[in-house]
Symmetry: C2
Subunit: 263 residues, 2 copies
């Protein structure tokens, strides 16, 4: 049985302001909780069913945490999922440390991705394609939003993110204008080079980290960020749809970049 | 002002049973309603704001329809969208006619895609990659579900679908077993050929229609359908995620097929 106070506390973590005050966030459902227990995130509390506890004793031991045993109804009432018959973890946020990719490594840069479901999909896609670092504009959805965590299907444990002003970020890494950049900064545009024809395998600027910038769902990459893009890329269209979802477009572009590099 | 009866009628169309009885479905929001008005779908009713009517007079004239003018609050109350300040159309379903792709054309085959959001994304992706025909198992979500229509972003007007038993469908087109098939039937599996290395440009079996089969979100392509697949394909993985969302995977595979053919 979850107490009234505890219920209020768990629900309060659905608000960004409270998450930031507390430095805590929610992880919900069997798969996501298993992944966070096995990761290097600190766990503040684990609320789960008896069955989840029994089936995951190894993981709870690893975190040296004593779970609070509740019913599936309790979990569903306390969380954001339609149903949850397994577990909710309260985990500790990581500090917003600057991150930099290694030479030859790709990082994702997200300019104003607003939808939490899209951001979660992008984390999962980045994880599939072996992208470890994501730089987010301050206007991008909060990664610790429960909808982002859920949609990432556990990938939030394997990807790092850094929220910062993107123009400052690019200026800090020594990017100036497209013609004076030392780094390869690709961006998704509707009028760029056909990504099926682009070849990134042997570029000398891949001796430095490279970046793929994805822009807002409606308006794309903003002008303040676009000025740093050295390579505009476009996914060729064969039919009538006006656009692709940004999570889908991220996957198609990363697939093309990886394919090009592994040739 | 929407009457109580009308409100009940519009809401009843959120149920598959009622949609099928009536042969009608809901289209919601400015963009989707504009697309359906410009398409060859029959329109039974149009409920919209005065502003939407003024801005889209050409389209309503084209359909010879007299709209009922209501407020954004009315629209939001009557529909499934979080907010709707534009329009709801009640459109007539198409008959579930068998469809066949032309020689050299790709069709999508969906085996038990359950999530309406995923199905809507797949329609949009198919439309982007110029796939006009989708064959759906009876257990696949209903295309006329308002969530599918919304997620397709208007692409439901440019793609045709046919619900049928998939084993019967393949047997009807003359597919038997992988070694005795006359058609190229690709399927997404976790243990297939790396799609980055597959080449479809010059295959003789592309003188016939070709098929890409996508399977259920959790369990993949079922055995009854898998036996017809001639070519198992896999998206290569570079990182830690266990899987990709089925809409994302459809896009990546179609991108690879199109790229391979346009070389």
């Amino acid at each position: 049985m979850i107490s009234k106070n505890q219920l209020a506390f768990l629900r309060s973590l659905q608000q960004k302001k409270i998450r930031q005050q507390q430095g805590l966030f929610l992880v919900e459902g069997a798969k996501s909780v298993q992944e966070v227990l096995a990761s290097d995130f600190g766990i503040e509390r684990l609320i789960c069913t008896d069955q989840f506890y029994k089936e995951n004793a190894r993981l709870t031991d690893h975190q040296r945490i004593v779970p609070e045993i509740v019913t599936p109804d309790d979990l569903t009432r306390a969380g954001t999922l339609e149903t949850n018959d397994a577990a909710i973890a309260v985990a500790r946020m990581r500090p917003n440390d600057p991150l930099r990719a290694d030479p030859g490594e790709w990082a994702l840069v997200l300019d104003d991705i607003r939808d939490p479901g899209n951001l979660g999909t992008i984390l999962r896609v980045a994880d599939w394609y072996g992208i470890a670092n994501i730089v987010c504009s301050p206007t991008t959805a909060d990664v610790y939003n429960p909808k982002v965590i859920s949609a990432s299907k556990g990938s939030f444990t394997r990807v790092r993110w850094f929220y910062t002003d993107l123009a400052r970020f690019f200026s800090d890494i020594g990017a100036f204008t497209p013609s004076h950049n030392h780094s390869l900064i690709c961006g998704a545009f509707l009028d760029g080079e056909n990504v099926h024809r682009a070849a990134f395998g042997a570029r000398p600027d891949l001796a430095r980290p490279a970046y793929l910038v994805m822009g807002n769902e409606s308006t794309g990459i903003g002008p303040a960020v676009a000025q740093y893009v050295t390579h505009k890329l476009t996914i060729p269209r064969f039919g009538g749809a006006e656009s692709l979802n940004v999570g889908v477009a991220t996957a198609v572009l990363l697939d093309n970049l990886r394919r090009s590099q592994s040739r």
